[in-house]
């Protein structure tokens, strides 16, 4: 099956903890993205990697850091989570940076207590 896979589906944690989310795409795409979707459904791009190289780093807090081992994997680490980090984190991929169509994973819902 070719798609974008994310783990975990849900994660509940306490303020100050560290969390990591994983994303894998089996579509053979060169570009991967992390988005944050808040409770109002607003989608904001956080990071993008093109063939393992970071090419977009929107203004996000330093406690967020993307990690890519190869072009099929893009993980997201959050050090010392805060309540405002509660959201759905969506991973996406596209054939290339210049390609508008993106394929999204199902998301990881983070709840920070």
């Amino acid at each position: 099956e070719t798609a974008v896979f994310q783990t975990p589906n849900y994660h509940v944690t306490q303020v100050g903890n560290e969390v990591s989310f994983n994303c894998k795409q089996t579509l053979g795409h060169d570009t991967m993205y992390w988005y944050k979707q808040d409770s109002k459904k607003l989608l904001k791009i956080m990071f993008s990697y093109n063939n393992k190289q970071l090419i977009v780093n929107e203004t996000v807090p330093r406690r967020f850091s993307p990690q890519s081992s190869d072009k099929a994997h893009l993980n997201l680490r959050i050090k010392s989570v805060e309540p405002e980090d509660s959201a759905v984190y969506l991973c996406a991929s596209s054939w290339d940076w210049g390609v508008a169509e993106q394929f999204f994973g199902p998301g990881t819902r983070l709840t920070v207590l």
Partner: protein, 110 residues
């Protein structure tokens, strides 16, 4: 600053009616406009897209109308079905990262 705006925020239609979802943008360099459909608990899925060189794109019951001069586009869903109930996102793309609108939540009543 919201570069891509969508209206209405929510829309309810009856089964069989045509739903019209609107989108506008500010940046004239945007040249590609994909629409995504998102069901609860899932990620957005590409539905239909249009480039700025076209004024209409049709795919089954889904049609995009594009007005470059006014920087507006709309998604028409004809013969709406309850299964079309979802949130629809308009996105815009140039050489930078894609920008998404805030979405329109569509409810189709049987």
């Amino acid at each position: 600053q919201q570069q891509v705006r969508q209206s209405p925020q929510s829309l309810t239609v009856w089964e069989g009616e045509t739903a019209i979802l609107n989108c506008s943008y500010e940046d004239s360099t945007f040249n590609y406009f994909p629409w995504y459909q998102q069901f609860p608990g899932e990620g957005p899925a590409l539905l239909i897209s249009i480039s700025s060189v076209s004024d209409k794109k049709e795919d089954g019951r889904f049609t995009i109308f594009f007005n470059k001069r006014e920087k507006k586009l709309s998604l028409h869903i004809t013969d709406s079905q309850p299964g079309d109930s979802a949130t629809y996102f308009c996105a815009a793309r140039n050489n930078n990262a894609p920008r998404f609108g805030a979405g329109t939540k569509l409810t189709v009543k049987p």
